[in-house]
Amino acid sequence: MLIHVRHRTRYHYEQPVKSIIQALRLMPRNHEGQYVRRWQIDLDHDGTLRPGEDAFGNVMHMLSLDGPIQDLCLTVEGEVDMQDTNGILRGTCERFPPQFFLRETPLTRADAAITEFARDLFGRHGGNALKTLHALLATLHLDMAFDTEPTDTSTSAADAFALKRGVCQDLSHVFIAAARVLNIPARYVGGYLMRSDEAIHQEAGHAWAEAHIPGLGWVGFDPANGICPTESHIRVGIGLDYLGAAPIRGARLGGASEKMAVEVTVADSHLDSQNGQDNQIRWQRPPETARQASQQFQA
Amino acid sequence: MLSRTADSLFWLSRYVERADYLARVLEAATRLSALPRAYGTGTNEWESALATAGCRDLFQRFHETPSAANVTDFLAFSEDNPASIRKCLEIARTNARAVRTALTSEMWEAINGAWLELQQMPAHADADGLMRFLDWVKEMSLRVDGSGYRTMLRNDAYWFARLGIFIERADNTARILDVKYHVLLPEHAVVGGGIDYAQWAAILRAVSALTSYHWVYRQGLQPWLIADLLILNQQMPRSLAACYEAIVGNLERLGSDYGRHGEAQRLARSTYVQLQNSRIEQVFQGGLHEFISAFIVNNNRLGGAIAAQYLS
């Protein structure tokens, strides 16, 4: 299936910003089951966008902009050919042995509650890693309510688990923390999801987890949906936790307070072109100067 | 040099200068308030002290009626007032510590010594203690100023430090004039008498110019001459013209040292030329209040231009 993604981030600053620097993990890589047909990053300001790779092999662009800037729009747009692999990953870019992904981070530290929860599941499934992970997936999906209110990007797994609510990021963190307690390497995945409920327009990207099982390799688990990733899951970045795979990490000089709006559209390319873009703000071509500076990336 | 270093030197000087100015304002207010009530003075002296210090609004958040006790406390010692004398000295010392290696040891010892002495002083003072405190503040600023003047290399570090002094001093002189301008207006001259004399003398005293006035004009206190002395007279070290002579001089040195002149130089020259070419009669014709208000705006704009060009 060919999936079309458009991800637009708009910033509005209270005062003109002097300079902006951002690290972007917004570009998917290929692996078996995922082939990037075309992909480009655009911005509506004169700046430089330098491609590179981060520690985990994610494509990372460094964006530098000089002000004064009061409004900024960053657009990611592309098409990816997807195939279902039952959640099993092959041909991914691997920079570290699975064992590395046992490392705990502040966001994925297992507290007593998560530890007990994980060990209990493990015991009930006779110490079988794969069965335990599937149980973990189902239990988290059932027990933790989707709620954007109580958590934010800095909420830890332990806090979210105590609240029994959160967003895909929080559920993934809890999943990862629990897997690592059981000595199962686990990692965070950031990407896009084409939703089965046909909600094309979303307010954010998606996140899920991967765990490493001897014999199988890396396997995806999407606790927010209670399923293993399908052909609808476009995988963009991996990390030990959200921070390692965050789509945008930035800093700026000046600007006082900031407003940010994110619009994500993920749809079947075929249907999308038929539906047209009726209810979407039409993209304006960036000014010429910006086009020169902002490089485009064709996959 | 690092912009932050220049910034710290600039503000270090400004805060020491401001502390000195606040001490003088308080001293003048204390003298005026000690005059018999028949002279028409009283609590409004304290209100005008707050206005000249530029913190009347902030004061009102903490107190209702200005009195000798609460105003002196607020301007000299208060922790609530981020620009009290005590706070000014603390900020000056913090800035000095941040650029310790850009200062001579004499200058560091003058500032750090003052700060250490301040730690030993009581947090409040009675009338007697206040006068001793104010004298100490003035002496401290002389020590800091003098140690810098005598020991610092004549390079950009020195010029930024001097710029801070004169931008702040020009602002202070202008503020006094702005609050007291009505006392200087021509119709008041007719009234004359003890009240006005006391007010005029207080203004001059606040900028330590009472004796200078007599030397320069060799006559009794006349309001337009007071205005002339404080605005246009280049011999008077606190006059706006003298401050701008120094500002332009320091900015020119920076400009030629760095091989680049910019907005700061242009703004400073423009104000200086205006001061040089004006006569006090013209100033009064155009309106003293308007003249001073415009000056304060321009002086602030220059501060902003210096910050944009060098300090950030």
Binding site: S19, I21, Q22, A23, T48, R50, G52, D54, A55, F56, M62, S64, D66, R95, F96, P97, Q99, F100, L102, R103, S154, L240, L243, R249, G250, A251, L253 | M1, L2, S3, R4, T5, A6, T94, R97, A98, R100, T101, D156, F160, L254, Y258, R260, Y310, L311, S312
Partner: protein, 478 residues
């Protein structure tokens, strides 16, 4: 009975201390007291202070200074120096390896989890070519002696070791306050340390640097405990002392904000921990760092000294593998000895340690500054019980070592002149043009009688360290 560096067990004087012993006989307590007071005044006036963590007042204190110098003979120093060079070459090899081909893991010499689970190992460094292949530009290797023959490494400090300002301050005091004793020796100079450091830093400039590479010292700011040292070193090297906000990154190049506009920076001697240097890559809450700095570093446009992730070599378990690393990378036998170390992560070692707690020193693997350790022979029963529980709860967090009888040197204390335990922190500089070590280092002394803890945060003091020309080699005097 500890090995005393001045006296043989029979009371005779060891040759390097001949002059010191003679001098101590002629000097009165009052004279020593006066000099001690003057030394303290020197530190106070100069503002040579450090802030104590956990002190609400943020009080600035001075470290006690003991005026009696510690002496190392030229021969002793030569052996120590060779050993330090060997050690630092090994540590640099190890870092290049674990961030590169990982040969030592493939060879099974260091267990993999010591790399992968080590929080100081920074995955961002993997595969990154650091300028000139140098990871540890500045190291402080803590050395102790237990006899006249061997030097033992107690700890490798490969992150941002401090103390060099005390080393240099101590020498200033010796020359001023004890000219007669100083003149009676030929003492190898250390005053050139700032020059050596600057030369080391400049030698490691990135390839595309300014023609005259610009180095800066990055400090966390004036509230850091070692701020004095940062400003002192920047001043002596004639480089800018910058805070994170003074720097910015544009298009993967680092600039500093100056009164003359942006100026490119080539080398950053950073005294800021890894976690804080770049909020885009590490701790996102850090206000002390420079956004984009790591990208500039990864692009090869700036040198960080030390490199990021050097802490992967200086925890106390990795320490225990250093002798194996020397053999693996250099094919040599280690010149400096390691203190025997029980790794509590291993079952047998743990069992031994639990059985011998009252004899051993137990340390946290990632601890430093003398905090979080148990000195068995000096501990109460309750302390030992507490540590037993901690060990059982998280054995991998601990190692244990025999209680070393650290060597002693004469010190002037309240009771007069008495032997006190010492260690030594030489500073090893590694540049593209070789290794530089100024002779000696910072001697730390436990001023409390019997105490083995020399850390300044725990009541330790410092001493000047003299590497003297050996009297039996007069021809070397030329």
């Amino acid at each position: 009975m500890a090995f005393d560096e001045m006296r043989f067990a029979d009371g005779g004087i060891r040759p390097p201390y001949a002059e010191v012993a003679r001098w101590l006989q002629g000097v009165t307590s009052a004279q020593l007291e006066r000099r001690r007071a003057e030394a303290e005044l020197f530190y106070r006036r100069g503002g040579v202070t450090f802030a104590v963590y956990g002190d609400a007042q943020g009080e600035e204190r001075i470290i006690p200074y003991d005026i009696i110098p510690r002496i190392l003979s030229g021969v002793e120093w030569a052996r120590l120096k060779t050993g330090l060079e060997q050690r630092i070459r090994t540590l640099n090899h190890y870092l290049a390896d674990i961030y590169g081909p990982r040969e030592i893991l493939k060879a099974g010499i260091v267990p993999e989890d010591l790399v992968w689970q080590n929080p100081a190992y920074r995955p961002e460094m993997a595969g990154l070519a650091v300028p000139h292949g140098i990871h540890i530009h500045i190291a402080g290797i803590d050395i102790v002696r237990v006899d006249g023959d061997d030097f033992y490494v107690l700890e490798d400090n490969a992150r941002t070791p401090s103390g060099v300002s005390y080393m240099l301050g101590g020498r200033e005091i010796s020359i001023r306050l004890m000219p007669e004793l100083y003149a009676a020796h030929r003492v190898a100079p250390i005053e050139n340390y700032p020059n050596e450091l600057l030369a080391t830093l400049q030698s490691t400039a990135p390839r595309n640097a300014n023609k005259d590479p610009i180095a800066v010292l990055l400090t966390p700011g004036q509230y850091n405990s070692a701020y004095y040292e940062h400003s002192f070193l920047a001043d002596k090297m004639g480089i800018e002392l910058v805070e994170g906000s003074d720097l910015f990154v544009r298009d993967s190049v680092v600039f500093m904000r100056t009164t003359e506009g942006p100026k490119r920076v080539d080398i950053i001697y950073r005294r800021l921990d890894d976690a804080f240097i770049d909020p885009l890559v590490f701790d996102p809450g850090s206000m002390l760092g420079v956004p984009g700095l790591f990208a500039a570093y990864a692009a090869g446009n700036v040198t960080l000294a030390n490199a990021v992730g050097t802490g992967a070599v200086d925890d106390k378990v990795v320490y225990s593998y250093v002798p194996d690393m020397v053999r693996f990378y250099l094919g040599e036998e280690p010149i400096l000895k390691n203190v025997p170390t029980w790794r509590c992560r291993q079952k047998d070692d743990l069992a031994y340690v639990l059985d011998h707690l009252s004899e051993l020193v137990v340390k946290e693997v990632h601890g430093s500054g003398g905090y979080g350790m148990l000195v068995g022979p000096h501990a109460t029963g309750a302390d030992i019980e507490e540590f037993r529980q901690r060990l059982l709860a998280a054995p991998a967090n601990y190692i244990a070592q025999p209680t070393l009888s650290l060597s002693t040197c004469p010190a002037f204390v309240d009771q007069g002149i008495a032997p006190r335990h010492v260690d030594l922190r030489p500073f090893v500089l590694t540049g593209a043009d070789g290794i530089r070590i100024v002779p000696g280092g910072l001697t730390r002394v436990a001023l409390r009688q019997g105490s083995l803890v020399v850390n300044s945060s725990q009541g330790g003091g410092t001493k000047d360290t003299w590497v003297i020309e050996d009297p039996e080699m007069p021809e070397a005097r030329a």
